[in-house]
């Protein structure tokens, strides 16, 4: 049964929210026409809504806390249901096959529109995995990741415009330019720690965007570059439908390639060095890891993917302008990494699919979708701060005679 004190608490919460939202929700002024509109109905909705929601909120919070306590007391790491699936070959292999078959037949079942948004989602999977190297593995908070994305997109647009270079030629060039810019950003920020790093990367992202916006002679300014060709395939001209499908399969291939590389990197010497750096910089140096080199490779390798996806982005939309590379985009990619679960590849993949497809399917609620998106970010973090799939740390157990 719900106790009286609970009801009282919820009642107070609802009173507080009615007070809080009063000026913004109830009164709508029009200073131009000099009229005021009173919307008392909104106040009622807020009151009842917050009263009910506060129960849910407290219940969820309690559940989360009791779960944590249990884990603390028994010293066991609760392994979630999804992780158990992932560790069981009998389950995950068929699952993988089903996903694979689904991915391959996807464009045949669904319309070009669905394929198109799936391409976008896959692009963000790659971006998320790239940023995951910097943030998830090396623990360097990068708020300007979109800068490398812009570098890739503009390198294809400009190289194609001036020299007529094709997509497949520019794809590696975009990646290399990403690396160069990654190192360029990496050098000055080597000494910075934590949030200082965050703001400098944010500044770097903004500088790149502002230059693209203002330097008309170089980048054509805010009106952008149009008529960027879609990817070619040995000179065959595609219709729109097959071009979409082509990009889709190319993205599937590239995503698999990314997953493969990131997975190998994670377990490599350099991957271990990143994780050591993330956990403790001083101890990591004491172990003889070259901090400079490790940080720079993290930035460079992270930027590679952004550069590559930038090229694909330009080829897919056929038009780019600086407005696509704002801070919000960086925040979006970072949210993918954190919501998915930092450092976990499968988590980032799921995170990207959810965060990109969600607003697209929320189109029905078009007005409310950004507000819902914001709310979902908060709720996700409050109740599952470790992300959808938290990275299971590799542990080694001593299997001795310890009865």
């Amino acid at each position: 049964m719900i106790k009286f004190s609970e009801i009282k608490k919820s009642f107070l919460v609802s009173l507080w929210f009615m007070f809080l939202t009063f000026p913004i929700m109830v009164i709508r002024v029009n200073p131009i026409e000099k009229t005021v509109q009173w919307r008392w109905r909104n106040m009622m909705i807020i009151g009842i809504g917050s009263f009910l929601l506060s129960f849910v909120w407290r219940f969820m919070l309690e559940r989360k806390e009791s779960g944590q306590k249990k884990a603390d007391v028994f010293g066991i790491h609760k392994i979630s249901f999804i992780q158990r699936i992932l560790q069981e070959p009998k389950i995950y292999i068929p699952l993988l096959i089903v996903t694979g078959v689904f991915a391959i037949v996807f464009p045949f079942i669904f319309s070009a529109y669905q394929t198109n948004i799936m391409i976008t989602a896959l692009m963000y999977v790659m971006l998320g995995l790239g940023l995951n190297i910097v943030v998830g593995l090396a623990g360097l908070l990068d708020l300007g990741y979109v800068a490398f994305y812009a570098v890739g997109a503009y390198s294809y647009a400009l190289l194609n415009y001036h020299f007529g270079l094709g997509f497949w030629t520019v794809l590696p060039i975009g990646a290399v330019l990403g690396v160069i810019f990654g190192i360029l950003l990496g050098f000055p920020v080597l000494r910075l720690r934590g949030d200082y790093l965050a703001i400098v990367t944010l500044g770097f992202g903004e500088i790149i965007r502002l230059i693209l916006e203002n330097w008309n002679e170089f980048s054509f300014g805010p009106s952008g570059i149009a008529n960027i060709p879609r990817p070619g395939f040995f000179g065959i001209e595609f219709s729109l439908q097959s071009a979409t499908n082509y990009i889709y399969y190319m993205m599937i291939g590239l995503t698999l390639f990314t997953i493969f590389v990131v997975n190998r990197l994670q377990n490599s010497r350099i991957g271990r060095a990143w994780m050591a750096l993330r956990e403790d910089e001083v101890a990591c140096q004491a172990m003889g890891i070259d901090k400079t080199k490790t940080k720079l490779t993290a930035f460079a390798l992270g930027a590679t993917w952004a550069g590559m996806v930038g090229v694909i982005f330009a080829a897919k939309t056929t038009f780019i302008n600086p407005a696509s590379f704002t801070f919000l985009e960086s925040a979006m990619i970072l949210s993918i990494v954190v919501i998915g679960g930092m450092g976990s590849i499968i988590g980032v993949v799921i995170g990207a699919l959810i965060l990109i497809l969600l607003p697209e399917y929320l189109r029905a609620f078009s007005d409310y979708r950004m507000m819902l998106f914001g709310a979902i970010l908060v709720i996700m973090m409050v109740f599952r701060p470790q992300g959808i799939i938290s990275n299971v740390r590799r542990t080694y157990k001593f299997q001795g005679k310890q009865q």
Binding site: W16, F19, L20, T21, P23, I24, M25, I27, R28, V29, P31, K34, V36, N42, L61, V135, L141, P188, V189, R191, L192, R193, G194, D195, Y196, A198, I199, V200, L202, G203, F204, E206, I207, L210, N214, E281, V282, A283, A286, F327, L334, S335, V338, I339, M342, D367, Y368, M370, M371, F373, G374, A375, I376, L377, V378, M380, M381, V382, P385, Q386
Partner: protein, 300 residues
């Protein structure tokens, strides 16, 4: 020379607005090491509340001074309330989570609040009544610095002095400093840390509201998006001065405001923001903890 003076005073005014917002960032950061991305939105909500209250009161036919005072007080109260609530909902449950989770929560909160105001009010720019009157005695100098700018400078100075007093000499100020230095130790000596954190959010948000009301009545219009840009700039200023340090935030804001003003005046406003961020990068290269930040040697 007059041109220089005009740019200087213009930059100082802009800097003081940044300072009012930056203080909120730096205080929160000093205590819980969180970049409160929703802080810019609190500033926007302050400005909106003032606009709504002022419009309603104008209909009741109050005189200008009364409107100014009442609108500002309501804005400060509401901003403080929003700051308090945001902390309770989005950050408090995350006290012990890994460092990036509260950051994403803050970004989510910022998007949420922006769209909340967009939907509940409007996406259009609304004219903000010029609450600050034009002083007659200042008429002769108004081509160099207008009365509104003068009021901004004076108000900011008074607010800074009050804040310094609060931090230095009151009980809550001492508790705040203690919590900033070492949260666990503060808890051990009997500081109610949760209360201190709430207080920090309330004070920071109230300062942002003051900034919101001042700037809105100076430039004469607001929309739901003003908080985002001002927030990013103020955050830059806070880091420039050394995040966590209160005099640092003020100094950083003034430096940023002046840089922008002079960059526009003597070079070009096209690259105004590029100068601002380039300055930040340069200063951080030579002083990795900001101008006034303590560079802590990490203990092992």
């Amino acid at each position: 020379m007059e041109y220089f003076l005009e740019l200087f005073l213009g930059g100082l005014t802009r800097g003081s607005i940044y300072a009012l917002i930056a203080l909120g960032y730096t205080m929160v950061y000093g205590i819980i090491e969180l970049i409160n991305f929703a802080h810019g939105e609190i500033y926007m909500i302050g400005a909106f509340t003032a606009l709504i209250v002022a419009s309603v009161l104008t209909l009741f036919g109050l005189n200008q001074i009364a409107i100014l005072v009442l609108a500002s007080i309501t804005a400060v109260i509401y901003s403080a309330a929003y700051g308090f609530t945001v902390e309770k909902i989005a950050y408090k449950p995350l006290r012990h989570a890994q460092r990036l989770s509260p950051l994403i929560s803050a970004i989510g909160m910022s998007i949420f609040l922006q769209n909340y105001v967009l939907l509940a009010q409007t996406s259009d720019f609304l004219p903000f009544p010029s609450l600050i009157p034009d002083f007659e005695f200042w008429e002769a100098y108004s081509h160099i610095i207008g009365s509104a700018e003068l009021v901004i400078l004076i108000t900011t100075t008074i607010v800074m002095i009050l804040l310094t007093f609060l931090i230095k000499f009151t009980k809550i100020g001492k508790a705040m400093r203690a919590t900033a230095q070492d949260r666990n130790m503060a808890m051990l000596v009997g500081v109610n840390v949760n209360q201190v954190i709430s207080m920090t959010f309330i004070i920071g948000s109230a300062l942002a509201a003051v900034g919101g009301v001042l700037i809105a009545s100076h430039i004469g219009m607001i929309n739901f998006y003003i908080g985002f840009i001002a927030g990013i700039k103020a955050f830059t200023a806070a880091v420039l001065g050394g995040i966590g340090s209160i005099p640092g935030a003020v100094l950083g804001s003034l430096v940023l405001g002046l840089t922008e003003s002079f960059a526009t005046g003597y070079v070009s406003s096209d690259y105004e923001d590029v100068f601002a961020f380039a300055l930040l990068v340069l200063i951080l290269i030579f002083r990795p903890a900001g101008i006034l930040g303590r560079s802590t040697t990490q203990k092992v």
